[in-house]
């Protein structure tokens, strides 16, 4: 088997195990006030971290480029309570325009 096949199959197996293990945690472990408070914060920190990394990271380097302009446009749209598709489209257009200009 070629290395690429090993990577494809191996990474697919571990990805599924990650997903499945989470679903199999006994409910009584989670039924504590502290755990619940932590649990509601988990999406906030992970999604925020994703936004940060996807906006500024280029592999292991931090860069400021057209993506920041796009995300800025998205935040502005959110501030004005724009619906989701408008948020995303304004980010894409802004980023594409800035990319073309510079």
């Amino acid at each position: 088997m070629s290395p690429i096949w090993i990577a494809v199959i191996g990474a697919s197996v571990t990805a599924f195990l990650n997903k499945y293990i989470g679903h199999s945690v006994p409910e009584k472990w989670l039924d504590r006030p502290k755990v619940k408070q932590i649990n509601t914060l988990v999406p906030i920190v992970l999604l925020s971290a994703l936004v940060g990394v996807q906006t500024f990271a280029d592999k292991k380097e931090l860069v400021v480029d057209q993506r920041l302009a796009g995300v800025g446009a998205a935040l502005l749209a959110l501030k004005f309570k724009a619906p989701f598709p408008v948020v995303v489209i304004s980010a894409a257009i802004t980023s594409a325009v800035v990319y073309q200009i510079f």
Partner: protein, 220 residues
């Protein structure tokens, strides 16, 4: 189940998230073929692995001549947050057997994010499945197109796709930030992830921010 984006806010969010993120699958398809993966291998990653960041890591590392084991390790680390999402979703979905296997496969950033934004369990379930299945369909469809047309798509930056994905995540995190404390938590998570990006292996900067959830959740 009838899907009606005109009358149902959950459906509207789920479908627009699914389409936006799915579109980015074209960029993955192109990246796979560019990294010398066959069209079949590229499509299998979207069908089986089905977790964007991990998939990009696999083709990125293998394309740069890395070892299969480091591709697998990085992808696993990046996908660990899906385990945390599973922890969130299990008490809401309450599924077992084959249904749990299927639900697990579509447990990703987007499906969990749309689901946990809803205010009752019926909408939470609907949001999870609609977003998860929607992303699955669009992501795989566009992966295939991207893999076939790799040379024609070129650079995703030209289309603004590189900003569309973080913007989509902004749209999913924004409604959760209801007070100053939550803004501080969000800002700290961004700061910590960026601080770790140059020094830690891929995946570590994002998953480490869970420590902030533990610290802030514990204190309150």
């Amino acid at each position: 189940m009838s899907i009606n984006p005109k009358t149902s806010a959950v459906d509207r969010t789920a479908l627009s998230v699914a389409f936006t993120v799915g579109l980015y699958g074209a960029a993955f398809g192109a990246a796979g073929v560019t990294a010398d993966f066959s069209v079949l291998q590229t499509c299998l990653l979207s069908l089986l692995l089905f977790s964007g960041a991990s998939q990009f890591a696999v083709v990125g590392i293998m394309g740069a001549g890395g070892a299969a084991i480091s591709a697998i390790a990085t992808a696993t680390l990046l996908g660990f947050r899906n385990a945390l999402y599973g922890v969130q979703m299990a008490p809401i979905l309450k599924v077992t057997g084959i249904k749990r296997i299927l639900a697990a496969q579509i447990t990703i950033d987007e499906s969990t994010a749309v689901s946990t934004l809803q205010d009752n369990d019926v909408d939470r379930k609907r949001g999870f499945y609609l977003t998860g299945i929607g992303v699955y369909i669009f992501w795989n469809f566009f992966t295939f197109l991207g893999a076939l047309g790799a040379s024609k798509i070129g650079n995703p930056s030209v289309w603004g796709l590189d900003a569309a994905v973080p913007a989509a995540f902004c749209g999913l995190v924004w409604p959760r930030l209801k007070n100053k404390r939550q803004f501080i938590i969000s800002g700290s998570a961004i700061g910590l992830a960026l601080l770790l990006t140059p020094i830690a292996p891929a995946g570590v900067p994002i998953i480490t921010t869970v420590l902030l959830a533990v610290i802030f959740g514990w204190k309150k």
